[in-house]
Symmetry: D2
Subunit: 242 residues, 4 copies
Amino acid sequence: MVKVTIWNEYRHEKTDEAVAKIYPEGIHQQLASFLKAAGMATKTATLDEPEHGLTEAVLAETDVLVWWGHVAHDEVEDAIVERVQKRVLEGMGLVVLHSGHMSKLFMKLMGTSCDLKWREAGEKERLWVMDPSHPIADGIGEYIDLEHEEMYGEHFDIPVPDELIFTGWYEGGNVFRSGITYKRGSGKIFYFQPGHETYPTYYNVEIQKVIINGVNWAKPTIRDYPVYGNAKALEEIKNSGK
Amino acid sequence: MVKVTIWNEYRHEKTDEAVAKIYPEGIHQQLASFLKAAGMATKTATLDEPEHGLTEAVLAETDVLVWWGHVAHDEVEDAIVERVQKRVLEGMGLVVLHSGHMSKLFMKLMGTSCDLKWREAGEKERLWVMDPSHPIADGIGEYIDLEHEEMYGEHFDIPVPDELIFTGWYEGGNVFRSGITYKRGSGKIFYFQPGHETYPTYYNVEIQKVIINGVNWAKPTIRDYPVYGNAKALEEIKNSGK
Amino acid sequence: MVKVTIWNEYRHEKTDEAVAKIYPEGIHQQLASFLKAAGMATKTATLDEPEHGLTEAVLAETDVLVWWGHVAHDEVEDAIVERVQKRVLEGMGLVVLHSGHMSKLFMKLMGTSCDLKWREAGEKERLWVMDPSHPIADGIGEYIDLEHEEMYGEHFDIPVPDELIFTGWYEGGNVFRSGITYKRGSGKIFYFQPGHETYPTYYNVEIQKVIINGVNWAKPTIRDYPVYGNAKALEEIKNSGK
Amino acid sequence: MVKVTIWNEYRHEKTDEAVAKIYPEGIHQQLASFLKAAGMATKTATLDEPEHGLTEAVLAETDVLVWWGHVAHDEVEDAIVERVQKRVLEGMGLVVLHSGHMSKLFMKLMGTSCDLKWREAGEKERLWVMDPSHPIADGIGEYIDLEHEEMYGEHFDIPVPDELIFTGWYEGGNVFRSGITYKRGSGKIFYFQPGHETYPTYYNVEIQKVIINGVNWAKPTIRDYPVYGNAKALEEIKNSGK
């Protein structure tokens, strides 16, 4: 059973009535509800808990971490970001949702600004499947239609993704690499763009399916961590320059 | 004319007689000498200069930065690392040599530990060309032989390179992705493994050719920086969710 | 001076009045005119010439081949396709335009069906730059607008491109990897989607700029062809299993 | 249960006593024996059977095809090659072993010459794991040692692999991309270099583990085949150029 920890900033839901109506218990609880229904063991963690809920003990028991943050990226402590990054490099999976693209954690793992174009116009988005045989697209047709989403547009300042799974088409005339994967250390990372707090995106069953697939894809491979540092020769060295 | 700044930690040369014999004026001066001979405008900068020699003014006048560091990675100030990273994302080229793989700068741009296996046995290395039509391999035959080098071995904890140009074969039984490229923001990055301070690697004309090629490849494309942030719709939005 | 050969099927222009009005001397002549104005040495070749105009002598004198074909892919002789493929593997650059995606040549180099969705509705296309520092995007702003183009839509059945330079947004709701690169052997390949015969796409100066950039990018690196076959050992083999 | 068909040329075993001693029932039976022991449903097919044993019916019932061929690549009929390629594009997995790199099938899927350096000196090979968290490397330590193997060396004339899983180090001084993956259409392809007919490579349990992993990795994702061809607009087109 995959052990998932869902991290949410959990601020919009407490200050913005429109958001509270959609996610009365917080975005994390909605994410947890469908991941649990898919047979996963779920925990949640939020910004205002001690250590943001991401203690060493919690991370040690986490196969895949899901991340949603937006207005309070700066309030996440650097020490916690480093702790989580370390766990990703050791093999913990990471699913970064929507505005998490500018979280300290994602930026640290990417090495770039992760900046992009955006527009809150509630326009239509169509997510085209670019890699139909990828397990993250399993069970999805040719595209997913979202009646209203925030626009995230190119140029998106990221390293070239290892894999491009979805490209977003926006009514307002933009495109976006909406579903992408990376490996960092032994950890697998899936970034997925939909999920603006003022739209009921995480109630959409196709979006849920993609996130469930993403968590399953990102779970660690059971293996030994590579050995680094000083290494003995495996073959005879005949003419050493020492 | 490409404007190159060569940054060197410049410590081994002042404390280790064997190194001083090979590079009496410092590794940076040897690098500068062949880059200058190749028609480039060269400057040097070292750790112990104010701001490590990497002032805003110097960076603004640099097309490509070459980086060599080893024992004093930790002494490089975080603020300078961030400044250099920002310039790379804006388009400045970066050529990272040998032990620069664990510089704060390279690790920050990669997002991983950049750890590896190593061995100072002075063994033979053969650098095989993996991408013979790449401009960085221009003028190089099938491989480059180095009589004595430090072994750097896999696993190398880096993101999957955009391009793999050289793979190193070591007498002691290891292999290594010895020449690799990345894009980060608008900046091009070339990492090249040879160059241990106790061997005269930077006097080897083939190694020089690769570094010259690397600098030429990494120089910025003349272009406008992308526009990020709030963006107006380019097409009419009929059914806004706002 | 880059030596470019522009190959055109040259059928639509002779049978369809609307096309003849736009390209009275053939698409190849319009392509040649702006490539020549950019300082290139241009030749043209068409399907109905002997050997389709692609003799060994012509190919030997070609740095980059530009390919436009549509209704008569099947009439291109297999022997000529093999001859051109061989030259690409040896280093000749190849720029494949629009419906050339289903030419025997491109399919042979890709190994896939190269199939896609299409629609002749004369809709608006916007080509977004995905890789702003790539030389093929040099001099182009954030996007190129085309008032009317044929829609080519995902899923596009191609190998994962080495580089993704443009993504097309279509008014009718589709997206497409419109500008992509590959290496095959020592040859560089650029596929660029715009150019339906019933629209004056190749008179658009931005489209011209991209094609000029693409030809410059695809030109061969001067180098020796790799050596294949039986190879002597470079190091002593102590315990041969022979 | 994964349905695997193992295809073997089956010639060396019948004409070369040394090979017959190692693989008395043919390489295909040895491959089948450990794949069966791993819980897979196995079938075999050989060159001299009608339709090379690869009838439409057999392929329709195959999840993953394993391919071993060497001296008789040219005897494989083009029509069968096209049939198998079509099935790969539709989603059937393909594991190509050793000298299968120059089979018509692999070359057709790659679009390149697939040529390489080789040497039958029975030298030592060490297969280094380059991507330790990849499922194909699951259960393998840092490397696999093979006492005697045929050398396959760079440059290897293939498209840039989607993933690089193993790099081979050879006693005689060469390196090779020994374990690589590609996607073509909906099919996953794994090429794995070890397996020269005169050495007992397929009795090595680590090599067996990699092949079992490769077959499991390559099995098709359950999904609908993408729809290609003429496509209706999904959004209103306001200013058609028709």
